[in-house]
Amino acid sequence: MGHSMPNIRKYGELFLVFFKIGAFTFGGGYAMIPLIRNEVVRKREWLNENEFMDMLAIAQSIPGPIALNTALFVGNKRLGFKGSLFSAAGIILPSFIFILFIAILFSQFSDNPFVERIFKGIRPAVVALIAAPLLGLGRSAGVNRRNLWIPVAVALAVWLLKISPVWIILAAILMGITHLVYLKKVMKK
């Protein structure tokens, strides 16, 4: 098998590609997509542009972080289940090491008045950063005047009534499917 890389190198390469992506993408999920496309589609040609778009749609439709789902898909597509373990380890490890380090450090300094003052300023900013993209996200999720009640009802139910997002998600899936069943019945008549 002179023409192919030894297996161990292939697994190592998968791990390293996703380790690099995991280490250099700040801000999570959506920030990673251009980087992943560059590595996986342009540089290495593991997927073509169409497969990449299909994969994104799937990665966004199943639960879990998009970055992890993407890594799992590429790993599996290239080297099967074992490949997906290597790509997943690659994407998880950088943030794991980094955050563990911060957690250890923080457990020593969180009572430090200096640190507390900094975070008094940061905490309201975090809330603003969560709220700011809502309008744009709403538009791309297809929120319009007719279905605006859905996000409003969900936000109030979780915020005020403390209903678990688990029930919200199950109810939303059920409603979507019920609607389709209803439409199919209407079409038959």
């Binding site: 700040f26 970055a67 997906s84 794991f96 957690a103 905490r123 969560i130």
Partner: protein, 187 residues
């Protein structure tokens, strides 16, 4: 609480978070907050907000970051040694990743044309707008007396909101609001 019970509780909580973590990132925050702050009391709401801030300024998805951080701090806060905290961290991080591993393996094995599948589309038709509601609830839940201590908090909130809508880099905004906190609040 026995260490093993804590490990099991961490595993179950973060497995649940991974399994119902549709929409990624901010959409997962209300579930994480309910589990780790309200249900188990592993961390305070202020510490939780700090984790979100740290997530926004460091690489990696918020779900991993909170699993790693809370896995460690829940164990060490109970008085167990650092080493056990690292194990807790690893357990929580694996647990939050496991549902994705199982689901993606199934997707790749059967290679459903999920994108064009009518049932999948139907499930997402209500789920997508609902996820926007979950993100909004994450912001509302964090808009509390612990994070907003006085009028200065609201000024920072307003300025950052306006700047963020103008597409200013979030990492820069967090660093600047940290400086603002240092200047506005005396020890």
């Amino acid at each position: 609480m026995e260490l093993i019970d804590l490990y099991i509780a961490l595993f179950l909580s973060f497995f649940k978070i991974g399994l119902f973590g549709f929409g990624g990132g901010y959409a997962m925050l209300p579930l994480i907050q309910q589990e780790v702050v309200e249900l188990h009391g592993w961390i305070t709401v202020s510490d939780f907000t700090n984790i979100v801030a740290i997530s926004q300024t460091t690489p990696g998805p918020i779900a991993f970051n909170s699993a790693t951080y809370i896995g460690y701090s829940a164990v060490t806060e109970m008085g167990f040694a650092h080493g056990y905290g690292v194990v807790g961290s690893a357990i929580a991080t694996l647990a939050v990743s496991l549902p994705s591993l199982v689901l993606m393996t199934l997707v790749c094995a059967f290679f459903f044309r999920l994108k064009n599948n009518a049932w999948m589309q139907a499930s997402l038709s209500v789920l997508k707008p609902a996820i926007i509601g979950l993100i909004a609830s994450a912001a509302l839940m964090l808009m509390n007396g612990y994070n907003f201590i006085d009028y200065k908090s609201w000024i920072i909130f307003g300025v950052v909101l306006a700047a963020s809508l103008k597409k200013v880099d979030p990492i820069l905004l967090i660093l600047l609001s940290g400086v603002a906190g240092l200047l506005l609040y005396s020890a």
